[in-house]
């Protein structure tokens, strides 16, 4: 399992009416081929912007710095045209809501094959044949007929399967899945998660799953990065992060969830609310909400520090260290 994507010190500035503001701030992580890497965090934590930065699809007037080396090439330094050739072919995306991410007016065939034909230069019938195969891979019944249909004729779960087929069309090495199941019901979500899991096993596909749902994370991810205020709070193997979190924020998130085995105990929310863009506090971005904050947290920006096997935490006081 080699490293497929290495992100180093990724910073994204977005244009706001008060000037550029950092949405992602010095983020570093790596994704190995064939693994599922999870990025977790609340809204505004910068997780979606990270994915957009990798694809070169940031909104107008946004800027980036840092490096994101994919198969030896720095995505952030590539010319738009060259990046376009990587996009959809080597790195594909599945987004949150299949009812909005599939084009409502184009046939499934067009949507599954158009980039195949563009990137791979194959003919209409060949692309069609592949599309049929793809649709059966994602378990769409009667793929021939499905190709002639439009997205509105499918249920949410089916649409997401189609969206995944679209993403897989050019056999990419990396799939960026941004909240791939958030818009779906739990019973359907289970199916999609199983599909993702199967695909990465069968196709040696690396998947970056972006989600706020730690339950989803726990089900599919091999390694997890927890983001807060555009920065890494904690990154490490799934089991370590979810069972022995070392960052107070990770701990807080887990505590806010309904307790795994029930009991009438009330939920324990994290006080306050996540910072909005351009209002990220100095020092450790989490310090105003942190129960363990010490004086230095207000000034010093903690960098993620390796504290265990592949486990990094950006919290120098390490108040949970003993709890592990």
């Amino acid at each position: 399992m080699g490293t497929l994507l290495e992100v180093e010190d990724l910073t994204v500035w977005l244009a706001t009416r008060n000037g550029p503001r950092k949405a992602v701030d010095g983020l570093s992580f790596r994704v190995d081929s064939g693994e599922v890497f999870g990025i977790a965090g609340e809204s505004g934590s910068g997780k979606t912007m990270t994915a957009m930065a990798l694809l070169g699809l940031l909104p107008h007037a946004a800027k980036t710095s840092g490096r994101a080396v994919f198969e030896g090439r720095d995505l952030l330094a590539m010319k738009p045209r060259a990046l376009r050739d990587v996009r959809g072919r080597n790195i594909a995306m599945v987004s949150q809501d299949p009812s909005t991410s599939l084009h409502p007016m184009l046939s499934i065939e067009t949507q599954v094959t158009e980039h195949m034909r563009h990137h791979l230069g194959i003919g209409r019938s060949e692309a069609r044949g592949r599309a049929v195969e793809l649709l059966s891979t994602v378990r769409i019944p009667d793929p021939e007929r499905a190709l002639r249909a439009h997205p509105a004729q499918f249920s949410g779960g089916m649409r997401q399967r189609i969206a995944i087929a679209v993403a897989l069309a050019c056999e990419p090495r990396l799939l960026l899945a941004d909240e791939p199941t958030t818009a779906l019901d739990v019973t359907v979500q289970a199916g999609i998660l199983r599909l993702l899991d199967r695909l990465r096993r069968e196709r040696d596909l690396a998947v970056v799953v972006i989600t706020h749902d730690l339950g989803v994370m726990s089900a599919v991810a091999d390694r997890i990065c927890v983001m807060y205020g555009g920065r890494t709070a904690e990154v490490g193997p799934r089991e370590t992060v979810l069972t022995r979190p070392r960052h107070p924020y990770t701990r807080g998130l887990l505590d806010a969830l309904p307790h795994p085995e029930g009991g009438a105990a009330t939920l324990r929310p994290i006080p306050g609310s996540p910072p909005s863009l351009g209002a990220v506090p100095g020092g450790c971005p989490f310090h105003p909400r942190c129960a363990f904050a010490v004086g230095s947290c207000q000034e010093e920006r903690p960098e993620p520090v390796l504290i265990g096997t592949d486990h990094r935490v950006a919290c120098p006081p390490d108040p949970l260290g003993g709890a592990a």
């Binding site: 977005l14 706001t16 009416r17």
Partner: protein, 278 residues
């Protein structure tokens, strides 16, 4: 992610527009001071080319075109404001009633609006003006007749969507009567879009009114009205100063209001903005 485009008053276009609006209002108010001559004074030789003495030349009766253009603002601007206000009030009331009661009331009122929409504005205005007799007052009425439905549709749409809004439902559950809810919740939501539409509509009103005058159904000569000045200038086609300046005046007034209105529209919610076609 949005940039500064949502703050209308910082936009240069809106500023230019506002400046021109103010300028024209001043011209209208100060016409007697600004104009070198009276609008009907036959003070010079006829059809003189523009010169230092008569900046915009003179017309076929030896009247100073500049003075007539200046006095023209006294005709077009107040009338435009008046009829936009009339249309906005009438249209808003009709729209609110239709949206609020729904059912056959809505059906009837909106079919009426459709009827008006089915006609190209000027043709209906023409018919109305012709029916009532070609006078400026009747032309104003005609323009009101064709312009209220846009307000009715806009307000009806806002009322209908507000009717289904959860905050209205919440108010109703608290025991607010439907009328009170509509007034309390709707007034602040309708005022903005209606104002924006009105700003854009001032331009349209000026255009429509001058169009009617151009057809001879609005202001009658010798009144110094821009549209009718253009049409009398048309008799002397190659004496461009007769029709160029009144037309330019219409253009700048309309453009100014459109600059302001359009910028304001951009600040609105896009779905509301779409209902305002200006």
């Amino acid at each position: 992610m949005t940039t500064g485009s949502r703050t209308p008053w910082r936009q240069p276009l809106a500023l230019v527009g506002a400046a021109f609006v103010v300028l024209w209002v001043l011209v209208a108010v100060l016409a007697p001071v600004l104009a070198p001559y009276g609008p009907l004074d036959q003070i010079a030789d006829k059809l003189l080319e523009p010169s230092a003495q008569h900046l915009f030349g003179t017309d076929q009766l030896g009247r100073d075109v500049l003075s007539r253009v200046i006095y023209g603002a006294q005709v077009s601007l107040p009338l435009a404001f008046l009829l936009v206000a009339l249309s906005a009030v009438i249209g808003s009331v009709v729209g609110a009633v239709a949206g609020f009661f729904g059912g056959w009331v809505d059906g009837t009122l909106m079919r009426l609006a459709d009827l008006v929409f089915a006609f190209p504005g000027i043709i209906l205005a023409m018919a109305v003006a012709a029916a009532l007799g070609p006078e400026l007052r009747n032309a104003v009425l005609a323009v009101v007749v064709v312009s209220w439905p846009s307000y009715a549709r806009l307000v009806r749409g806002l009322v209908m969507s507000a009717r289904n809004a959860e905050y209205v439902a919440a108010g109703r559950l608290l025991g607010s009567s439907s009328v009170r809810t509509m007034i309390v919740d709707l007034r602040p939501n309708v005022a903005g879009p209606v104002l924006v539409m009105a700003a854009l509509d001032v331009g349209n009103a000026v255009l429509l009114l001058s169009g009617l005058s151009f057809l001879g159904l609005g202001a009658q000569p010798p009144m110094a009205e821009w549209g009718s000045m253009v049409v009398s200038g048309m008799d002397y086609f190659d004496l461009w100063w007769l029709w160029l300046y009144p037309g330019l005046s219409i253009l700048t007034v309309v453009l100014a209001f459109n600059f302001v209105g359009d910028t304001l529209r951009d600040a609105l919610d896009p779905r509301t903005a779409r209902a305002i076609r200006g």
